[in-house]
């Protein structure tokens, strides 16, 4: 990264010269000029802060004054903090509880829409996708209103006062329902694209061999889609592990953070920054990154095994 910066720096001074030279030798510095703005901003705004976050995670720093080297103490402190483990358990719960039914539903709907018997496909596709279009915040607020205890839509319809969002054991399931509702359309479109990309000759061959629709599904389509499922499950997991807005807006009151029992890991990062404990915030972030990296690596290994 640093190298590319030092490479690009002299570029701007040499523009005129290189333009002259290029006529004979082909483009030389021109491509560097094209990538220079992007790479420069990327280094300043992403790479720099990323390394700085890593550096911070080994220090005690309050945002002003001196930073004190503490080695791995921040990491140790986070790992010994029971609230971190509750938060980690929460995000894994959200992942497992919503991803499996959501993927099954999304795939089922994709199969239905893809079926020769389906009508009005072009009406259903955008309607099922629509929750994706609504901003997370707006959608979460609609659900907060829907599941409200006293003034909620659902309780009004049921004529009950069930504390959907104030009883945390219920609230975590409301969060799961929300994640399913909002994510369904996305994976529906992805799976539909996967289904339409299956070679029709394979299906014809299976039909000629006497396979029923159900058998074609179980023995041809699902095995062909296996990698897509695994990929979807992991991608969805990486997104869920970084959850923030959904649980906080649904359960937290008036823009406040959600109660610890349902809080995701990012809440810790935000709370540490708000209380000016930047070292702890950074360490929490990098631990979360390690979790995500391990999951991605496991997925990669699984793919490898299948190919090899």
């Amino acid at each position: 990264m640093v190298k590319s910066e030092s490479l690009s720096c002299p570029v701007s001074n040499l523009t005129a010269q290189s333009n002259l030279r290029k006529r004979r030798n082909g483009p030389s510095l021109v491509p560097y000029l094209f990538i220079f703005p992007f790479v420069l901003f990327f280094i300043i705004l992403f790479v720099g802060p990323a390394f700085y976050s890593l550096y911070l995670s080994f220090f005690r720093y309050a945002g002003y004054g001196e930073s004190v080297w503490v080695g791995l103490d921040n990491y140790r402190a986070v790992l010994q903090y029971n609230i971190f483990w509750i938060a980690l358990k929460n995000i894994f719960f959200y992942w497992m509880a919503h991803a499996i039914p959501m993927m099954a539903l999304a795939f089922g709907l994709a199969v239905l829409v893809n079926s020769k018997l389906a009508r009005y496909r072009n009406v259903f596709k955008p309607l099922i996708y629509m929750p994706q279009i609504i901003a997370t915040v707006a959608a979460a607020l609609i659900f907060q209103n829907f599941f409200g205890t006293q003034y909620g839509i659902l309780n009004r319809i049921l004529g009950a006062e069930i504390p959907w969002l104030s009883d945390m054991d219920l609230a975590r399931w409301v969060i799961v329902i929300f994640l399913i509702w909002r994510g369904l359309g996305y994976w529906f479109v992805i799976f539909l694209a996967g289904l339409t990309s299956i070679n029709p000759e394979i299906m014809e061959a299976a039909t000629v061999d006497g396979a029923t629709a159900w058998r074609r599904m179980v023995y041809v389509t699902i095995p062909l889609m296996r990698n897509s499922f695994l990929f979807a499950f992991v991608v969805d997991g990486v997104v869920t592990l970084r959850l923030f807005a959904e649980p906080n807006i649904l359960v937290g009151k008036a823009g406040a953070l959600a109660s610890v029992q349902v809080a995701p890991v990012l809440n810790l990062v935000i709370e540490y920054i708000r209380s000016a404990r930047f070292g702890m915030a950074a360490a929490t972030g990098w631990i979360l990154f390690l979790v995500i990296a391990i999951i991605s690596w496991l997925q990669f290994r699984l793919f490898r095994q299948e190919e090899g």
Partner: protein, 293 residues
């Protein structure tokens, strides 16, 4: 097939036709149910935006007893006006989108159409950083912007979004498919490198630039985590940060549901309209690069 007698064939055909019809109806019903569940909350948001805050406490579930634009009026008055925050959202998303698309397209062009030393390594390195979730670097970013005295400004909400690796990747993949002859022809005619980019590459790639611009605009418009941390002052907050905080000015903790739903509708409607008018582009942009997993 020859084994069957003709009457048997006729009967099995009727059964088959009948069961096909039944299946058609069942599929249609299942899809209608899915579509209703998907759309119902959105429709409720819009319906409830036409109720007053008071009516929302009595009648949250039904149609408005009294259709009123009172809640929309409050969006413009509420604590100095939620509309100011909607304007903030527009400024942030628009500037971010323009810069992000411009910077990504420039870099993507070089990565797609030039050979230069370190190109593939650099591109791979850039893509690899996609593995690092942006939230992880928030502590470092926060101090960086605090040192520049940019916390509580619009800048701090725009800057971290202007170098999207996803955009670079999308646009590069598209540009790589543009035939080189097209560019060579222009160069032979004496066009400079930048002219080839602006006069040929940008128009030819406008579908992917437009698709990515929409995606990017949406993601900035919908951002919550970073803005909620760095925009604490009311006058620099985007709509998404303010919406969840809107409570009754007298009682304090009660959400003003009518006003919130009116604000949410206003914040959603522009994107919804764009979506409905070009849904195919929208949904195909989702599947770019993700199907061949």
């Amino acid at each position: 097939m020859n084994v069957f007698r003709s009457s048997n064939i006729a009967r099995s055909n009727t059964i088959a036709r009948w069961s096909t019809a039944a299946k058609k109806v069942l599929i249609l019903l299942a899809l209608i149910a899915a579509a209703l569940i998907s759309v119902y909350p959105i429709v409720m948001m819009m319906i409830n935006s036409f109720k007053s805050d008071r009516e929302m406490y009595i009648n949250p579930a039904g149609l408005p007893i009294e259709w009123t634009l009172e809640s929309y009026g409050k969006v413009f008055q509420y604590h100095g006006g939620l509309w100011l925050n909607i304007v903030n959202s527009i400024i942030i998303s628009l500037i971010s989108t323009i810069m992000a698309v411009f910077l990504s397209a420039l870099a993507a062009y070089a990565f797609a159409k030039y050979h230069f030393r370190g190109r593939d390594t650099l591109f791979a390195l850039l893509l690899a950083t996609f593995m690092i979730p942006p939230e992880i670097i928030i502590p470092g970013q926060y101090i960086f912007f605090a040192r520049l005295h940019l916390i509580n400004t619009l800048h701090v909400q725009i800057l971290p979004t202007i170098t999207p690796i996803l955009g670079l990747f999308f646009i590069r993949q598209y540009m790589a498919l543009i035939p080189n002859d097209l560019l060579e022809a222009a160069r032979v005619d004496g066009a400079g490198h930048f002219t080839v980019f602006t006069k040929i590459m940008v128009p030819v790639c406008s579908p992917v630039l437009g698709a990515y611009a929409i995606l990017h605009f949406m993601s900035v418009w919908n951002a919550y985590t970073w803005p909620v941390l760095v925009a604490v002052k009311r006058e620099v907050q985007p709509a998404m940060v303010v919406l969840p905080q809107m409570v009754d000015p007298v009682v304090g903790f009660l959400p003003v549901w009518g006003t919130i739903m009116a604000g949410a509708t206003l914040a959603t409607l522009p994107i919804l309209i764009v979506f409905l008018s070009m849904q195919d582009k929208f949904m195909s942009s989702v599947t770019v690069g993700s199907v061949k997993g």
